[in-house]
C-alpha cells in the first residue's frame, strides 16, 4: 500500500540532505499519478503544515520565475523532531 501524502513527503525529505519543494511536487505527482495547479497547491500547503509543526525546517529559499510568474521556493530538511515523530509513526525504523 502506498503511503499517505504527508508520510510520503516526510520520507522523501528524510532521504535527502535538503530538497526543494518543486522537486517534491514532481515526486508526488509521479508517485500518485497526479497533476495540476490544485494538487500542487495542496502539496505546498502540506509542506507549510509540516514546517509549522516543526517536523521539517526550511534551510534555503529563493524567488524564481516559473511560467512567467515569480514563485517563492523553499528547500526543506528533516528536523530532529521530525525524525522522532517519523519513528513514532512507523515512517522510519526505530
Amino acid at each position: 500500500m502506498k503511503l499517505h501524502h504527508k508520510g510520503f513527503l516526510l520520507v522523501s525529505i528524510s532521504k535527502s540532505r535538503g530538497v526543494w519543494d518543486q522537486q517534491l511536487i514532481e515526486k508526488v505527482f509521479t508517485e500518485y499519478n497526479e497533476s495540476g495547479d490544485f494538487r500542487e497547491k495542496t502539496i505546498r500547503i502540506a509542506l507549510d503544515e509540516l514546517a509549522a509543526a516543526g517536523l521539517i525546517k526550511c534551510t534555503e529559499n529563493k524567488l524564481e520565475t516559473i511560467n512567467g510568474k515569480a514563485k517563492l521556493l523553499f528547500k526543506y530538511q528533516i528536523s530532529d523532531f521530525g525524525i522522532s515523530r517519523m519513528v513514532d509513526t512507523g515512517l522510519l525504523p526505530p
Binding site: 500500500m1 502506498k2 503511503l3 499517505h4 501524502h5 504527508k6 508520510g7 516526510l10 490544485f38 494538487r39 495542496t42 502540506a46 507549510d48 503544515e49 509540516l50 514546517a51 509549522a52 509543526a53 516543526g54 517536523l55 529559499n61 529563493k62 524567488l63 515569480a70 517563492l72 528536523s79 530532529d80 523532531f81 522522532s84 515523530r85 517519523m86 513514532d88 509513526t89 512507523g90 515512517l91
Partner: protein, 359 residues
Amino acid sequence: MLNNVPASSLLKIALHKHYARNQRWGFMWALWTAILWGAWYVPGTALWFERPYVDISVNEQSLRLAATAVMTWIHAIAVFLFLLIWNMALGKVKDYGRTMLSFNKISKWYALASLCGGPLAIFGSYMAMGFIGPVFAAISSLFYPVVGAIIARLWYKEKISKRTAIGMCIIIFGGMVIYGPSIFGETGASNPNAWLGYLGGIMSAIGWGSEGAVAGRAMDVSDPDVGIHCRFSFEVVFWGMFILPALAIFTDLPIKNLIVETVTHSKAMLWIILAAACHAYCYTAMYKSLILIGVGRGEAIGNLYAVFALIFIAAFTLQLPQWYFIVGLFLTVLGSFVMFSEPAESVAELRDNSDAKVY
C-alpha cells in the same frame, strides 16, 4: 518600480507575505470554526423540541441519556457523510483510506480523539442542552482552549507566548461576562436532574480541549481534512458497534425504538442534518486552523463561538441580548486581536523543538 528593489528585499517581502498568508488562513479557519460552532447550538437545541425527544420528560433520567446517545450517533453518521462529500470534492478519499489503514501508527490517535470529542464532548454538550439549556451548554465549553493549550504545552511542548496567554485570558473572561449572568436565569431549581447538565458541560470542556491536543499528534503526519474524517469514522463505530449495542443488550432502554423514531421523524432528522452540516465544517475548519496556528491559538479564536451562539440563539428565539453581551463581545474580540497581532513569523513555527522527544 520593483525593478529597483534589491533581490534580497524582494525575497524578504515575499517571505513575509507567505507567512502572513498562512497566519491569515489559520485565523480565518478558526473564525469559521467559531461561526459554525455557534450556529450548531440552534439545531442542536431545537432537536430536543421534536418528537421523539420532546415526549421524554426531564425526570426520565436514563431515557433522556439514552436519547442523547442515539442523537449523538445519528449526528456522527450525518457528519461522516458531509465529510465524505468534502473529501470527494478535494480528491482526498484515497488518502483517507491510506490514513485509516495505518491504525497502529496514525489513526489510533484519531480514534482516541474521537473518544474525547464524541462520547465526552458532543454527548456532554447535548446533555447540557437537554438538561439545562443552550446558553449554559455554550458557556460550559468556553474553557476548552485552556485544557487544550495546557495539554499541548506539557505533552508536545507547543509554545504559548505571553501575548497568546493574555489573549486567551481576555477571550475566556469575555465568555464569562457574556454567559455568567445567564446561567442563573436558565438553570431552574425545579429540574432535579440539572446536575447531569452541569456534568455534561464539564465533559464538553475537557473533551474538546483534549481532543484538539490528541488530534494534534496525528495531524503532525497526516492531512487535517482526512484526519477529521477518520475521527468521525471512529465515532460512528464506537457508538454504533459498542456503546449503543451494549445499552440495548444490557439495559431495558428502548434504543432500537429511539433510532427508528428519530429517522422516521422528518423534523428531527432535519435538525440533525443541519446540526451535522454545521459541525462537519466547523470541525474541518478547526483541524485546519490548529495545524497552522497551533492548538492554543486555534482553540482560543474558535472560542468566539460563544458570541455567535448568542447571536444565533437571539435571532431564532427573538430575545435581544443583555448589556453584558456587548461587554463580553468587546472582550472576546479584543482577545482575538491581541492574539492575531503576534508577528506572522513567530506563528510559522509552533513548537519548541530543541529538547523535543515525544512519547
